[in-house]
């Protein structure tokens, strides 16, 4: 059975079509990335998926249950982390979790044990009795995630869960997503961070102007486009752009203390750089090659559409 099955979903706000005939399938146990530029229709799609909005046409099934015909049964299968950390600021972390657990009908004993575990797992145990409005953004987001996973949902839907977080909070969120996926939850994730989608997701879907423009594995999406490859190099001395004026180098861009060189032939460029270094008595401090990126595929798909 598919965890999420969306068919011909449409949503209009006045004359604006926010979601236009969107169909997608998320397999059980999969981590599914939903990408798109600002205003592409990601959050509207998530609101339709979670029953917050009513569609003008189309259907959404969560583990086979139609969310608009049987909203309560379908929502029992889900945990949702909305775009901003929407938890009650006038309740403590623990009270927020109790409220969520009660919503899912967890018995008191199970609830308390699970809350203890989840507060420890997300590093919130010491501040469990503090009001959430006194928390930092990262901590609020952790409470928000804890509320969504309290009942070990079969489908976890996250709307930009790492947006605006510091490195530690971001890592904790990603670890939690991994952990939930290992426990068998299907993950549906929207993000602006292409690299995050590349490393986390088995399937990536790109939406632009309300329409799905591509859906495949990150590797296949990268190969869909005849993108150039790049080499990043840094030397022990400052060099000028003139050093890279060679036929095989399509473009050279300064990138911090490094240069990024775009090429069709990375093998040739490596030999060229080694030759340059010997000729100019330069020491190569770092040298890395990278293939076509998901970011380039994303930019190509969303700009051309």
């Amino acid at each position: 059975m598919n965890a999420i099955q969306v068919e011909h979903l449409c949503k209009r706000f006045g004359t604006v079509t926010a979601v236009n005939d969107v169909s997608l399938t998320v397999r059980e146990g999969e981590t599914f990335g939903f990408l798109g530029p600002n205003g592409a229709g990601k959050t509207t799609t998530i609101r339709l998926l979670t029953g917050v909005l009513t569609p003008d046409a189309g259907s959404v099934r969560i583990n086979g249950i139609d969310i608009h015909r049987h909203p309560l049964d379908a929502k029992m299968q889900m945990g949702v982390i909305p775009e901003s950390s929407t938890v009650y600021g006038d309740l403590s972390a623990e009270q927020n979790l109790h409220l969520s657990a009660k919503m899912y009908g967890m018995p008191r004993a199970v609830r308390e044990k699970r809350i203890d575990g989840i507060l420890l797992q997300l590093g919130l145990n010491e501040k469990r009795r503090f009001l959430v409005r006194t928390f930092s953004k990262g901590m609020k987001q952790r409470v928000s995630i804890a509320c969504a996973i309290i009942h070990l949902p079969r489908v976890l839907i996250l709307d930009e869960p790492t947006s605006g977080l510091d490195v530690q909070s971001r890592r904790l969120v990603i670890e939690t997503i991994h952990h939930m996926n290992e426990q068998g939850s299907t993950i549906f994730l929207t993000t602006h961070n292409i690299e995050e989608a590349n490393t986390l997701c088995q399937t990536v879907c790109i939406i632009n102007k309300g329409k799905i423009v591509a859906q495949d594995s990150p590797e296949r999406l990268k190969k869909m486009f005849d993108t150039t490859q790049s080499v990043e190099v840094s030397f022990d001395r400052t060099v000028t752009r003139d050093l890279f004026a060679a036929e095989g180098i399509l473009r050279a861009e300064p990138c911090g203390d490094k240069w990024r060189l775009y090429t069709d032939n990375p093998d040739w460029i490596l030999k060229y750089l080694v030759g340059c270094a010997e000729r100019e008595s330069l020491g190569i401090t770092s040298l890395t090659t990278s293939g076509p990126s998901l970011e380039e595929a994303f930019v190509h798909l969303t700009e051309c559409a």
């Binding site: 909005l53 929502k75 409220l99 009660k102 919503m103």
Partner: protein, 249 residues
């Protein structure tokens, strides 16, 4: 499918959440508790009125203000804090949210008004002639007033102060046309016609019937009107909130 138990549990949990979060919010205390007390002092105290005669009307006013003060705050507050969206993603429907808000308002109204009644009974003779009718007046009164509060919060606004101002704009005129300060028997012409249009009139009349045995209408009419307006307010709130949901507000 297990939708009905889930639906009822949703109402219960939302009611508990509302009671914990909103009963102590300043606008609720201000417009729900202090304001009717100030109105009482302004109109009844020091004017050599028979407090026993006017007590049913005062109790109805107290119940009206308390029960209708919670509802207008909840939805705009949750929309502003963006917790409304999260609430909708839980296993609840918009109907459970509306009924949870109405129940929280009704419990607040019953609690505060009962306290006022008990406290008043210590100082003035406030006899109850028909206990059953008195209980019914409390239940139907809080239900209809709480439903009115939720209806007033239904327009798509995420600013609690604006909604509170709007709700007071509706609530204040009602207390002047509903037989609270001027008994229904002393009204005539347009004043009486307006009084017939106010649901609060029937609550005042029901309290009069229960406490003094004197009423302008039959208690059956009073109860029928209060049941009908409660259902009407809840249905109207439902329609408006569903429409907002379709529009994404």
């Amino acid at each position: 499918m297990m939708e009905v138990p889930l639906f009822l549990r949703g109402i219960l949990v939302i009611t508990g959440k509302n009671m914990r979060l909103y009963y102590t919010k300043p606008p609720v205390l201000m417009f729900g508790v202090l304001f009717p007390l100030f109105m009482f002092f302004a109109f009844f105290v020091g004017r050599h009125l028979d407090l026993t005669t006017f007590f049913p009307a005062f109790l109805a006013m107290m119940l009206f203000f308390t029960a209708s003060s919670v509802g207008p705050l909840i939805t705009p507050w949750e929309k502003r804090e963006k917790t409304y969206e999260r609430l909708l993603s839980y296993p609840v429907t918009q109907d459970s949210i509306i009924l949870g808000d109405v129940t929280a308002g009704a419990i607040f109204g019953i609690g505060i008004s009962l306290l006022v009644w008990i406290a008043s009974a210590l100082f003035i003779p406030v006899a109850v002639m028909n206990t059953g009718l008195f209980v019914l007046a409390f239940i139907l009164g809080t239900l209809s007033c709480a439903a009115l509060g939720v209806l007033l919060a239904s327009p798509a606004a995420d600013s609690p102060p604006n909604v509170m101002i709007f709700s007071n704009l509706i609530r204040f005129p009602l207390i002047f046309i509903s037989g609270i300060f001027v008994p229904l028997v002393d009204m005539q012409g347009w004043g009486l016609a307006l009084a017939y249009c106010s649901p609060l009139t029937y609550l005042v009349d029901l309290f009069n019937a229960a406490m003094s045995g004197k009423s302008a209408f039959s208690p059956f009419i009073d109860c029928g009107v209060l049941i009908l307006v409660s259902a009407g307010f809840i249905l109207a709130a439902r329609v408006i909130q569903k429409r907002n949901m379709m529009k994404g507000m």
